[in-house]
Amino acid sequence: MYRYIIKRILMMIPVLLGVTFVIFSMMYISEGDPARMILGEGAQESEVEALREELGLNDPFLTRYVNYIKGIVTKGDLGTSYVTGRSVSEEIFDRWPTTMLLAVLSVLLATAIGIPAGIISATKQYSIFDNLAMVLALVGVSMPNFWQGLVLILVFSVYLNILPPSGFYGPIYWILPAVTIGTSTAATITRMTRSSMLDVIHQDYIRTARAKGLSERVTITRHALKNALIPIITTVGLQFGRGLGGAILTESIFSIPGLGKLMVDSIKARNYPVVQGGVLFIAIAFSIINLVVDILYAFADPRIKSQYQSQSRKKKRSTTQEKAGEAA
C-alpha cells in the first residue's frame, strides 16, 4: 500500500513538470508586455526595456523556462509578483486557506444533500420524490453557478437583506458562496448516487440479504451502499476538484479574497508569475485529490486494496529476483 502511494507521488512529478511547461508556454505567447503593464502607459521606452532586461523577459523561451524550473526545484521559489513585488508562494499561501475552506464547505454541503437524496431516489424509483429529485438535480446541473450567485445575492442580500452580498469575514459570509458552488455539486452527486445504487439494488446478493430477513435499512446501508460507493467517491473527488476550479468565478462574484480571485486578477493584469504559480498549485491539489480518491477506494472495497498490495508485491518480487540474478 505504501509502495503504491509512493509510486503514485513519483508519477505526479512528470505530470506537474508538463503542467508548468504548458502554462509557461501559454503565458509566453500571450500578447501584452508585463514590463509596460507594471510601469504604466506613460513610461519611457528605455525604462521599459531596462525592466524587461531585469525581469529576464528578453531571454529566449527555453532559458526562461529552465530558470523558472531551477528556481522551483532548488529554492522552492515560484517567482515574484509583478504587481505587489511579494513572492508568489507567499501570495498563494495567503489566499489558499480561504479557497480550501470554501471548497470543503461546499462539498460537505453537497454530500450531505446529494447522497441521501440519491439513495431515497434509487430505493423509491419512479416515485414522486424520485421524479422531483431528478428534475431538481437536472436544473441544478444546468444552472451556471456565477448566475446562481447573482440570483442568491439578489434574493438574500438585496431583497430579504439577511445575508451579506460580499466579503469573507465569518460563517455568515460563507453561506451564499458555499451554496453557490455546492448546488451543482449536490445535483451531480445525487444523480451519480442514484444510478450507482440502482445498479447495485437489482443484484442477487441484495435479494439474498432481504430474504435473510434483514431490515430494509440494514440492507440498503450495509449491503447496497457499500457496494455502490466507488462511483460516488469518484464523483465527490472530481467535484471537489471542480469546486477549486469553480471557486475562480464564485470568488469574483462575492469578492472573496481567495486563490480564484487572485488568479482572475492576475490574468487580467498579465501578472504571469502569479498565474503560473497558481495553476501549478491547483494542479498539485488536483493530483493529490485524485490520489486520495484512489486510496479511499481501497477502504471502500477490499478487492481493490488487495490489487494495490499485489501490484507492489509483484514489484518487490521482481526486484528481489533481479537482485538474486545480479548476485548470481
Binding site: 505530470v15 436544473v139 451556471p144 448566475w147 447573482l150 438585496v158 477549486l244 498565474v275 491547483i282
Partner: protein
C-alpha cells in the same frame, strides 16, 4: 449479403433508434426545446422585435411591459431581442467548440488506441498533463493567451475539452479494434487512415455522440463564464454571459438585467442535458433491455 438488404437493415435500425428516442420522454422534451432554440437562432432577425444594438436612452432599465416583454437594459436596449440574437452566439460557440474538441481529441484518442505502445503512451501522458488543470482554469488561461474574442473563446473551450474526447474515443476504439471486420479491412489492403476513419470510428461513435451533446452544454456554460469575467465575447455582442457581466453593476436597482440572460442559459443547458441523457439511454447497450 446484397447491397439492397444491407441498406434495408441500416434504415430499419435507424427507424428503431428514432422510435426509441421518441419514446423517451426526457429526450423528446429536450429535443423540442432545442428545436425551438435553433429556429429562434436561425430566424432571429425576423422574430426579434428590435435590433440587438438599438439603443434608446429615454427608456433605460424598464421593467417588463407590452412593448418590451422582458424590459430594457441600462442602454435602453430590448432585453428579449438581445436574448434572441444571443442564442445565435451561444449555440454557435457550443457546436463549434465541441466540433474542435471532438476532432482534436477524437483524432488523438483514435491514433493512440490504434497504434498502441509508445504512441499511446506519449499521447495519453500529454493528455494526463492537460487533465491535471481544471477545465475552467485551462479555458481561462488559453483565452488569456490568445486574447478575448469569439473565435479565441471557441478554440480555448474546444482545446480545453479535447482530453475528454480523447479518452472516450481511445476506450471505444480499443474495444472495436480487435473485431474481425477490422482484420478483414486490413486483409484487403486498406490504409491505416481508412481503417480508423471508415471502419473503426463509425462503430465507436455512440459514446462520442453522447459526450458531444452534453459537451455542447458545458461549452455554452464555459463561454458564458469566460465572457462573464471579461475574457470571452466582448460587448456589444449580445452573448448571454457578457450580458450578465454587464448587468451585474445594476443588480441592486434592477432585477431583469441579471435574471433573464441566466434563465436563457439555464433553459438551453437543461434542454441539452435532457436530450443528452435520453440519447445515452437509447444508445448505451448496457441499458438496453
Amino acid at each position: 449479403m446484397t447491397e439492397l438488404s444491407m441498406q434495408k437493415r441500416r434504415s430499419s435500425r435507424r427507424r428503431e433508434f428514432w422510435l426509441r428516442l421518441c419514446r423517451n420522454k426526457a429526450a423528446l422534451i429536450g429535443m423540442v426545446i432545442l428545436s425551438v432554440l435553433i429556429i429562434t437562432a436561425v430566424f432571429a432577425p425576423i422574430i426579434a422585435p428590435y435590433h440587438y444594438d438599438e439603443q434608446n436612452y429615454q427608456i433605460t432599465n424598464q421593467l417588463p411591459s407590452l412593448a418590451h416583454p422582458l424590459g430594457t437594459d441600462n442602454c435602453g436596449r430590448d432585453i428579449l431581442s438581445r436574448l434572441i440574437y444571443g442564442s445565435r452566439v451561444s449555440l454557435q460557440i457550443g457546436f463549434i467548440a465541441v466540433g474542435i474538441g471532438a476532432a482534436v481529441g477524437g483524432l488523438l484518442g483514435a491514433v493512440a488506441a490504434f497504434y498502441g505502445k509508445a504512441v499511446d503512451n506519449i499521447i495519453m501522458r500529454c493528455i494526463d498533463i492537460v487533465l491535471a488543470i481544471p477545465s475552467t482554469l485551462l479555458a481561462i488561461s488559453i483565452s488569456a493567451a490568445l486574447g478575448p474574442g469569439l473565435t479565441n473563446a471557441m478554440i480555448a473551450i474546444g482545446i480545453g475539452s479535447a482530453p475528454n474526447y480523447a479518452r472516450i474515443v481511445r476506450a471505444s476504439v480499443l474495444t472495436v479494434k480487435e473485431q474481425e471486420f477490422v482484420e478483414a479491412a486490413r486483409c484487403v489492403g486498406a490504409s491505416d487512415a481508412y481503417i480508423i476513419l471508415r471502419e473503426i470510428l463509425p462503430n465507436a461513435l455512440s459514446p462520442i455522440i453522447v459526450q458531444a451533446t452534453l459537451g455542447v452544454a458545458s461549452a455554452i456554460l464555459s463561454a458564458a463564464a469566460l465572457s462573464f469575467i471579461g475574457l470571452g465575447i466582448q460587448p456589444p455582442s449580445p452573448e448571454w454571459g457578457a450580458m450578465l457581466s454587464a448587468g451585474r453593476v445594476y443588480i441592486r436597482d434592477f432585477w431583469p438585467i441579471v435574471t433573464f440572460p441566466g434563465v436563457a442559459i439555464m433553459i438551453t443547458i437543461f434542454a441539452l442535458n435532457l436530450f443528452g441523457d435520453g440519447l445515452r439511454d437509447v444508445l448505451d447497450p448496457k441499458l438496453r433491455r
